[in-house]
Symmetry: C2
């Protein structure tokens, strides 16, 4: 018979967030990369916290951690409503990205422990930020069993350490189980997934809203465009005789901005990097590279924007007499989240008097992976001060953290009460 579940206060949430931020504290900021010493210490601390709250902590083979009623058997045989987020941070990141949802999941699982209905299990993915390895959502994918043995050797960090080698340290530490991916199935079958997260954008703060109910995670396309013209003496080449690769790139940068603005929200377009050669005061640039990105929550809209961008780039290069190559270097499809869960979250917010809006997440999150796997998933945002994230300056007010938590807890409580699994 489990001990009675607890009621929590804002202080319970905020003090644990502060404690978690000490693991990997880089003064300023937090650097907690998957399987590193700070990550492993945070992982052990979370498990101890869970035990203090009457829960058990069970890691899977990849170091994803489930926080559950000790009476719940996390051996792959049981299903549950999962609530949580990720444990890792970017290099010199903030205290809230991932950590907020992880602590919220811990407290929600503890608050709802032992109640009748669907089991509610906290989850903490090992990796989401792509900051040590570039495996792409390693945590979320491994949580669902979507990783091959081969990938453990192929994915390497900047020092050449493979996922398998790094994982060995976690296994030696007890922060990952000694199971292999081939034999693995999820330790907990997810019925539904809820993730609480900071917005990492400025919209909620600007609109003075407490909650963002995310209906879609935007997809993106990324290109590297290269323009070739003529490198010529800047003094002796009249304006009318130039094929200047940098002015061509500059026009493309502005065309991308115009395209996203004309299309309207949630379209965004960003040129993140640019270069022009040879890079001297007295030479008209003969070549230029520019990195272009488009994001949208809707497949067809992203297709349309992409075609339009490609056409505008070609037209600009053509009018200026430059050659262009535009290489698609990566893309991610837009991912709708569960509309039924969004409706439920909206009801909860209304009932609790919490102001909210539906919105698109421009960034990927663990729920993108679970939604893509067909599991009804929902992402809830709380405001980010000035939209700053992936920075030591990341901040959300305790009151705002608590408000989001209350909605998440109540939503899980209602879903639990409906039963299932």
């Amino acid at each position: 018979m489990p001990t009675a579940a607890r009621e929590f206060t804002a202080h319970d949430l905020v003090s644990r967030l502060e404690s978690l931020s000490e693991f990997g504290a880089t003064h300023p900021g937090v650097t907690r990369l998957v399987y590193d010493a700070s990550w492993r210490a945070a992982h052990r601390w979370l498990r101890t916290e869970a035990e203090t709250l009457g829960l058990a902590g069970t890691p899977d083979w990849a170091g994803n951690l489930f926080l559950h009623d000790p009476a719940f058997v996390a051996d792959g045989s049981r299903a549950a409503l999962l609530v949580g987020s990720h444990l890792d941070s970017v290099v010199r990141g903030g205290r809230y990205d991932g950590a907020y949802g992880a602590i919220a999941g811990l407290l929600i699982a503890a608050a709802l422990r032992g109640a009748s209905g669907t089991p509610v299990v906290g989850f903490v993915t090992a990796e989401e930020e792509d900051s040590r390895f570039h495996g792409g959502m390693m945590g979320g994918r491994s949580l669902l069993g979507g990783v091959s043995e081969d990938e453990l050797d192929e994915v390497k960090d900047a020092d050449g350490t493979s996922w398998r080698e790094a994982l060995a340290e976690a296994r030696a530490d007890g922060t990952a189980a000694a199971q292999t991916p081939d034999s693995s199935r999820p330790l907990v079958r997810p019925l539904r997934v809820l993730e609480l997260h900071i917005e990492q954008g400025p919209v909620l703060e600007a609109e003075r809203l407490a909650l963002g109910i995310v209906t879609h995670i935007a997809g993106y396309r990324r290109w590297r465009a290269r323009f070739d013209g003529d490198a010529r003496h800047s003094g002796t080449t009249p304006m009318s005789h130039r094929r200047d690769a940098l002015v061509c790139s500059a026009e493309v940068v502005l065309a991308l901005e115009s395209l996203a603005r004309e299309h309207g929200e949630p379209a965004v377009g960003t040129a993140g990097r640019i270069a022009a050669g040879p890079g001297l005061f007295n030479v008209v640039p003969g070549d230029s590279d520019v990195w272009l990105e488009l994001r949208h929550s809707d497949h067809a809209a992203l297709d349309r924007l992409s075609r339009e961008l490609e056409e505008r780039v070609a037209a600009i290069a053509n009018r200026r007499g430059l050659t262009v190559s535009m290489e698609l270097v990566s893309s991610q499809a837009p991912q709708p989240l569960d509309s039924g869960l969004a409706d439920r979250a909206e009801s909860v917010a209304r009932d609790l008097g919490v102001s909210s809006r539906r919105m698109v997440s421009g960034a990927a999150h663990d729920t993108m992976v679970t939604a893509r796997a067909g599991i009804p998933s929902l992402l809830l945002f709380v405001p980010s001060r000035a939209g700053i994230s992936h920075s030591p300056d990341e901040h959300t007010e305790p009151e705002a953290l608590w408000t989001g938590f209350r909605v998440g807890l109540e939503l899980c409580r209602r879903l639990q009460a409906e039963g299932g699994a």
Copy 2:
């Protein structure tokens, strides 16, 4: 009594240009940096060529070379009409830049040797390209005596070798005289200076003209502009919430282009280098640097353009809510050349049936230094294929080289005949 002066052919000119290009040949291209082994070998070869043609070669303390009638005393006591150009090249440059005027000066001095009237002396400056040292027209300035002893120690190449140390090698080699700058005066007092040079731009070729009569050397201003906005997540930051430093830079690049085009020739504006940070696909750039240059032949016009550029840059940054700093990093005043000499050159071209136009040189040349010193100076251009220069692809047809030479020779013949000095 000197031997009789010779009549030359196009082959005499072109074959010597070919020979000179072997000194420092880098296959492709020519790399002949001041005082290096190739430069010294070329210098010795030129002197020998001069002797073969009945001239004497006299280097000054800096390695500038005078090619003159042996009866002419190059000790600072005599004045002459100087005709020539520079011996050095850029790294992997072409076969014509500088070399054409140097060989033309040699042959003109040889052709007019011993005739009555003003002495005509070939000159070959040691350094013009700023490619080994960054002293700024070291050859032309030292030719006129405008260099201090201190500068010999201050000016250093990329390896830390000072001008003085490099010069010691040339002195040991006989390619520079053992005179010190403080005690120096020009070995030949220049009455007038004529320089023949390739255009290094596309205008003469495009207009199918044989000769450019340069009336002004353009001045320039160079700035480094820096924009600071907010580095934010590219997915989560709506277009309306951005302060994107790269789109700001891009708009400035296009504004500079528009400004120069609106103003019309001979204004040119060039953004030669650009960067944006942090330089990732998924971050809206928070900072950006861009290098800007304006050139014009007229002082007041360059002032006006500069003010207009500064205003446009400030307006763009202001409208986008970014901070801007714009640092003037270097400038050079426009330099008019001698209008009387330009008129004379035009007469000669007309008399010889050579098509010509007056034009501005966007690039600096040795005549900029001599004109600035108050010496009536003129620069004549021959076409450059596709405007390419400072490149192994630099090319001018033998016929075009010869046409320019004929004008230069006839101009010198007429000036010589008028007497003086």
